[in-house]
């Protein structure tokens, strides 16, 4: 099965084209075809996984060469797939969670006339994302990278009859593009210094490369990852991306696409091994985003935007873990997988709530939904407990390990990173509990037309499966360091180092902070009635509600100067470039005007000029020769 793993990419892409070209007559069965294809990829992925598990640890890397892609001059590249533990982990995550969300979308988008195209785009996304994680070179990864960006744009702007949704899609695409510059520059640096962009060659060459080059490449890759994973400073698009249908938010902007940045950083671990400064920047970016996401999430009243801010923050955790070096790689991926399950589950739950509440998203209008939508309440609750990090739910296994790893090291680093992670866990507990209590508990604050009801089986069964994963997956993967051992061929071995605060202390501190966060949320939003109109709040609340003014900052720092620069360049082009050409033409015309005087029409003047020419040339010949 591993040798035909290219089917993983081919099948969804064929389905995408097929559904797109089939037209209206495929409307009746198009969505099932999409689900079927996604299911097929899941089956292939699982079989490939078990094949790889069956091999011994040293043998767990399969390269499947597909075709010669570039072969000209100095640049030679084959297109091929690299299947190793890291890529297969992602394959499983993408295909399984993706298939569940496909099934959910059949019911969620049941009343949409363009449902067939929705599934086409979902399949496109699956195919491109699988290409991204199985590519064996940076360039092929980039193809998948762009593909998921395209799918994200198409899906965010799916309801583009609303102008603000279309604008949100544009914003997502443009901000992603800024990140793509990083990947392109990194590939350029790789080609210039290493002569190749395939993983094998780059990782082999980075042993002897200079620190400056590796640092540059590392920073450029970080830029790309920040764009795709909505990390600071390219995080402004994630909140607006919630304009897309909820399955999209669940699949792309929670479980998979936004994790592509983490995949890139972890895959390029060898490069960061030689560039400790770049690695430190990765950790700082992760820590910053962690805090930013948490602050924003605490003030949002839109359930999807709150979950988006939570995603931003959790990916910050993953980035932080990846920025800690080999000790953190495995935990970053671990948290990525568990986060994929519980966040997707919570998004699907939010979608179910919206479905039952007539597409209302304002949490101040929810309340006491646990009786009306019991299954949603329970599955959402599992996700809530997982993200809090309450044992034995999956979040506990992954997030606590990150906090431990953050406290390892010397000097200021363990204290800064560790305390950030710790306090972030507390704030996470606060705002996630706020979300949970405002939605499902307290008094009902519904409007008159709303009659909340539970969703159909097609929606609840995927949610249940994801909730089961949120509960159990952490234990399955974490017991006996099973997951770390599985990833070892890729991430490298690491010694177990002691954090500056001992493990039991850390665990206790974490649980205490989590409990404090839950208690605060309980007191603010369960004990006291929730006002329907948002109260004015403190300065911090206002800032958090406005996404910490990220859009204003972007506008002031980038957009306005950029527009001025563009205008200046246009003017310079017209005045200088065009002006130079025009002045040249005018100069020629003036020269012509001046030379015209020689054409006096008089024979004797012409004769004089001829004679003059003859004498001059003859004189030169005589003198020179």
């Amino acid at each position: 099965m591993l040798s035909v793993s290219w089917l993983l990419i081919a099948l969804p892409l064929v389905s995408f084209f097929g559904l797109m070209l089939a037209g209206r007559r495929a409307d009746a069965w198009g969505h099932w075809a999409g689900v079927g294809v996604s299911g097929a990829t899941a089956v292939i992925g699982i079989i490939a996984f078990f094949e790889m598990v069956g091999r011994s640890a040293s043998d767990r890397s399969e390269s499947v060469r597909l075709f010669t892609w570039f072969s000209g001059g100095e640049f030679k590249l084959d297109a091929g797939l690299l299947l190793d533990p890291l890529s297969l982990t992602f394959v499983l995550l993408i295909t399984v969670v993706g298939t569940l969300i496909h099934v959910y979308s059949v019911a969620y988008m049941a009343h949409d006339p363009r449902r067939r195209m929705f599934f086409a785009y979902l399949n496109l996304f699956i195919g491109a994302m699988l290409l991204l994680v199985t590519a064996d070179s940076y360039l092929l990864l980039f193809v998948g990278w762009e593909g998921v960006g395209l799918a994200s744009y198409l899906l965010i702007g799916f309801w583009n009859h609303k102008p603000e949704y279309a604008t949100a899609a544009n914003k997502a695409f443009v901000v992603n593009r800024v990140g793509d510059i990083g990947l392109i520059l990194a590939m350029g640096l790789m080609f210039a210094h290493f002569g190749s962009v395939s993983f094998v060659d780059v990782f082999a060459a980075s042993d002897g490369a200079s620190v400056a080059v590796l640092t540059a490449i590392g920073l450029m890759l970080l830029l790309a990852a920040a764009g795709k994973s909505a990390q600071f400073p390219l995080q402004s698009w994630l909140g607006d991306a919630m304009a897309g249908p909820t399955p999209v938010s669940a699949l792309i902007h929670a479980a998979t696409m936004v994790t592509a940045g983490v995949y890139l950083i972890v895959r390029s671990g060898v490069i960061y091994d030689g560039a400790p400064d770049a690695r430190l920047v990765v950790a700082i970016v992760g820590a910053l985003t962690l805090v930013i996401g948490a602050i924003i999430g605490s003030a949002k009243d839109d359930i999807k935007k709150a979950l988006a801010a939570s995603t931003m923050s959790q990916i910050g955790y993953m980035m932080l873990a990846a920025g800690l070096g080999p000790i953190g790689y495995a935990f970053a991926i671990f948290h990525l997988v568990t986060h994929g399950f519980f966040k997707a589950g919570m998004f699907l739950g939010a979608g179910s709530v919206m479905h039952g509440m007539n597409d209302q998203v304002d949490m101040r209008r929810f309340g006491a939904l646990r009786s009306a939508m019991a299954i949603t309440w329970i599955t959402f609750g599992f996700g809530w407990l997982a993200i809090l990090g309450v044992p034995p739910f999956s979040g506990y296994w992954s997030k606590d390990k990150i906090i431990e790893a953050a406290f390892v090291g010397e000097g200021w680093q363990p204290w800064v990173f560790g305390l950030t992670a710790l306090i972030g866990a507390g704030i996470t507990a606060f705002y996630m509990s706020r979300l949970f209590f405002m939605t499902f508990h307290g008094k009902a604050r519904w409007t008159d037309e709303q009659h909340p009801h539970e969703s159909s089986l097609l929606m609840t069964v995927p949610m249940m499966i994801l909730a089961a994963g949120s509960a159990l997956l952490g234990a399955i993967m974490g017991v006996g360091n099973r997951f770390q051992n599985w990833l070892e061929p890729v991430t490298g071995t690491h010694g177990h180092e002691e954090p500056v605060l001992s493990v039991p202390v850390l665990t206790t501190l974490t649980l205490v902070l989590v409990a404090a966060g839950v208690a605060l949320a309980y007191w603010m939003y369960l004990r006291k009635p929730v006002p329907i109109e948002p109260p004015t709040g403190s300065l911090a609340t206002i800032a958090a509600r406005n996404d910490l003014f990220q859009d204003s900052v972007n506008r002031a720092v980038f957009q306005v100067p950029g527009t001025h620069l563009a205008r200046t360049l246009v003017y310079a082009d017209a005045a200088i470039v065009d002006g130079a050409v025009n002045k040249q033409a005018t100069g020629v015309a003036m020269f012509g005007e001046a030379s015209r005087r020689f054409q006096s029409g008089r024979v004797r003047s012409y004769a004089l000029l001829m004679m003059l020419g003859f004498v001059v040339i003859a004189a030169i010949l005589v003198m020179g020769g």
Partner: protein, 249 residues
């Protein structure tokens, strides 16, 4: 070797007249001076052991080319006195400078070359020139023939004036004469006698009387005519001698 006196004579009679090209006002003076230059050059050719060329120079240049020039001068205005004032600014000085420059250039080039002693002279008479002309260079001669034909035809073409009116035939001339009432016949010629056939004697009509119209008016005005009576009397006595009867025609 050429004697210095000969050389300097030739030099004088070529250079001095050619200066008239620059300074003379009337074109005919210039043409006459150029004729003198051509003759001087012919002398130079003969001095340089090229008698054939010297004669050809006289015949062709002096005899044909310069005469052509004079004919055309007659046609276009022989009286024109050209003003020597220069109309184009700077032309005079630059032209003079260039002319002196050309002379200096040529002289300097020639003077730099080291020539050996002149070889033994071969006289360029017709007998010596002919084998070369019609042997090695016969093709050139033939081509020159074509050239001359072309030049002649070209001159004809260039000066051809298309006829604007149809030619007046003799019939038309005669008809116009009769219509105007003039004498349809030409006037009588002056008398031709055995002892006198000048134009000043009138002719005799059948009665033996002189016809006044037959002598040119100009001679009459100048009183240079002779009376025709003497010829009439002489005619009669002569005829009696020869036995003609009185009253015979």
């Amino acid at each position: 070797m050429i004697s210095p006196i000969l050389f300097w004579t030739i030099a004088v009679i070529t250079v001095i007249p050619s200066l008239s090209l620059l300074f003379a006002r009337k074109a005919v003076h210039v043409a006459m001076a150029v004729v003198l230059v051509m003759v001087g050059l012919a002398v130079a050719y003969v001095a340089l052991e090229a008698p054939f060329l010297g004669v050809v120079q006289i015949v062709v240049y002096t005899g044909a080319v310069m005469m052509l020039f004079l004919f055309v001068l007659m046609l276009v205005g022989v009286d024109e006195r050209e003003s020597l004032k220069e109309t184009i600014t700077g032309q005079r000085w630059i032209a003079l400078a260039l002319a002196i420059g050309v002379a200096a250039l040529l002289i300097s080039v020639v003077s730099r070359v080291a020539f050996g002693e002149p070889a033994t002279a071969k006289t360029g008479g017709p007998v010596e020139v002919a084998p070369l002309l019609f042997g090695n260079y016969v093709l050139v001669v033939e081509t020159l023939g074509f050239l001359l034909i072309t030049a002649a035809v070209g001159a004809l073409v260039l000066t051809h004036v298309p006829r604007l009116f149809p030619r007046r035939t003799q019939r038309e001339v005669q008809a116009a004469r009769v219509a105007a009432g003039a004498n349809p016949v030409n006037k009588t010629f002056p008398g031709v006698y055995a002892t006198h056939n000048a134009l000043d004697a009138p002719a005799l009509d059948p009665e033996g009387n002189p016809i006044e119209e037959s002598v040119s008016r100009v001679l009459k005005v100048r009183h240079q005519t002779t009376d025709g009576i003497e010829f009439k009397d002489e005619n009669r006595s002569r005829r009696r001698e020869l036995g003609a009867k009185e009253g015979d025609a």
